[in-house]
């Protein structure tokens, strides 16, 4: 494929393919992009108490899931900070699949198994069994439909079906990390190459409007425009879910879970810092870890900063003190010693279907 490779959590991953990050990003917004995200980890949970045990470990309410539905959630510490963010898939009342980040799979596994969970369910790390390919963009459905009899149009956002893709048994999930419509396909690990090649063929790879293989750099800029958190950047064990604007996945009334008490207390007393989105208003590009300055004071840090190829702006997310976390607030970013003006704006920066 000619991808430029880099080590990512122990995986050899392409940063970009020959088309380049900007073209990959735009093609995904306008047509379709294909991402090999087989590095993601998978943990299988089976048993009568699968939902109850998982619900004690995560912040969202897994008991609300129906068969064939997926849910964004987080493994939380007792302090309400984030061990990892994940998707919880429900296959049956006694069968869930947790899809976690690559770099944290081992940590998550240790975290889960370190708790003496009282109930009937088996956790199994099945990361090596699965490949995962994400086909994203407005043309994704039409392309995938050529390879599967699964009625893709009937799968609602954050739902999935089991079936075959190019005759290979697969889980087809209407989820993604780009802000576009699209699907994530899970199949046996050794089938990745076959499905990858078939999807490229079905998507007219090579034509100006065909699917493009996309690397990690485009995956990052797409999710940033869509205002989605990346573990190790916006979320980690130093910020709580409420500070990270993820209150919507904190179901404080669902019953006891790790971190519930701390999160309930913080909800009562209020957060001291909050994650915001910003747009650079002067010449310059904000980058990860640069400091945020308000009225001459260094008050926070950029968690992700980058050019936004579709919006054609330089954007980022950052933690700032709660009292400054308001839309329109002028801030500065210390870009390698030079203070560059920026303004706090609404997240997401990009919303599908809106005019820009």
């Amino acid at each position: 494929m000619g991808g430029r490779m880099v080590d990512f959590g122990g995986w050899d991953m392409p940063v970009q393919y020959p088309a380049g990050t900007i073209e990959e990003h735009l093609r995904t917004r306008n047509h379709a992009g294909l991402f090999d995200v087989s590095h993601m980890g998978e943990i299988d949970v089976r048993g009568a108490d699968a939902i109850a045990l998982v619900n004690y470990l995560v912040s969202n309410d897994a008991s609300k899931l129906i068969d064939g539905q997926a849910q964004y959630s987080a493994l939380t510490t007792a302090e309400g900070t984030v061990v990892d963010d994940l998707l919880v898939y429900r296959f049956a009342a006694d069968h869930l699949l947790l899809v976690v980040n690559a770099g944290t799979t081992e940590k998550d596994w240790d975290w889960i198994t370190s708790h003496k969970l009282d109930g009937a369910a088996q956790f199994k790390n099945v990361s090596a069994d699965y490949c995962q390919l994400a086909l994203q963009g407005p043309d994704a459905l039409g392309i995938l439909a050529k390879l599967t009899a699964v009625p893709l149009g009937d799968i609602k956002y954050y739902h999935f079906m089991e079936g075959t893709v190019d005759s290979i048994p697969a889980i087809v999930s209407r989820t993604g990390y780009t802000g576009e419509d699209g699907f994530e396909v899970y199949a046996a690990a050794d089938k990745a190459e076959q499905i990858w090649n078939k999807l490229l063929d079905a998507g007219n790879f090579g034509s100006d409007t065909g699917v493009l293989p996309c690397g990690l750099a485009a995956r990052n800029t797409l999710r940033l425009e869509a205002g989605m958190a990346l573990y190790g950047h916006e979320i980690d064990e130093s910020s709580t879910l409420l500070e990270a604007n993820l209150g919507w996945i904190c179901k404080l009334n669902k019953g006891e879970f790790i971190g519930r008490e701390a999160l309930a207390k913080q909800k009562e007393s209020g957060v001291r810092k909050r994650l915001v989105g910003f747009e650079v208003t002067e010449r310059g590009i904000a980058r990860d870890d640069q400091e945020v300055v308000i009225n001459g004071e260094r008050v926070g840090k950029v968690t992700s900063g980058s050019p936004a190829p579709f919006l054609k702006k330089n954007i980022g997310m950052a933690y700032v003190p709660f009292q400054s976390a308001t839309e329109g607030q002028e801030i500065q970013i210390d870009v390698r010693g030079k203070l560059v003006g920026a303004r706090i704006v609404k997240i997401p920066f990009y919303k599908r279907g809106q005019q820009y």
Partner: protein, 130 residues
């Protein structure tokens, strides 16, 4: 295969120099722009600024990364490519032409002679890739 014109001088930081009388025109090489990816921002000095050889005179940013650029020769800036403010992609599409960055009035004779020739630079990039 990166394009490496014969008539230019090259640095190990992947800049090129074209000598025009007493002036050195400086840019980054085809190999460098290819490694960086899509260039989205170029920061250049002001006319009149002075730089010593191998001093950083600005930066080139792609979507993913920031790279400093170094002046291979000593001297004063007598011209900058203002076009790059609006069309930074010229660094990718025409690195030795419209993608040029600065013009330096050379203050030390002989500095360009210690730079790499096209053949030496080609060997250098091959070794760096391995």
């Amino acid at each position: 295969m990166a394009n490496i014109p014969d008539d230019l001088h090259y640095s190990k930081d992947h800049e090129w120099v074209r000598v025009e009388g007493n002036v050195a025109v400086v840019g980054i090489t085809d190999y460098a722009q290819d490694s960086l990816g899509d260039v989205v921002y170029v920061e250049l000095p002001k006319v009149g600024d002075d730089f010593a050889a191998n001093e950083s005179f600005g930066s080139v940013e792609s979507v993913k990364a920031v790279s400093e650029v170094f002046s291979p020769v000593s001297g004063a800036i007598v011209g900058i490519n203002e076009k790059l403010a609006d069309e930074p992609e010229k660094v990718n599409t025409d690195p030795y032409g419209e993608g040029w960055m600065i013009r330096v009035e050379m203050s030390k004779a002989g500095e360009v002679d210690s730079m790499l020739t096209a053949a030496e630079y080609e060997d250098f990039t091959k070794a760096e890739k391995e």
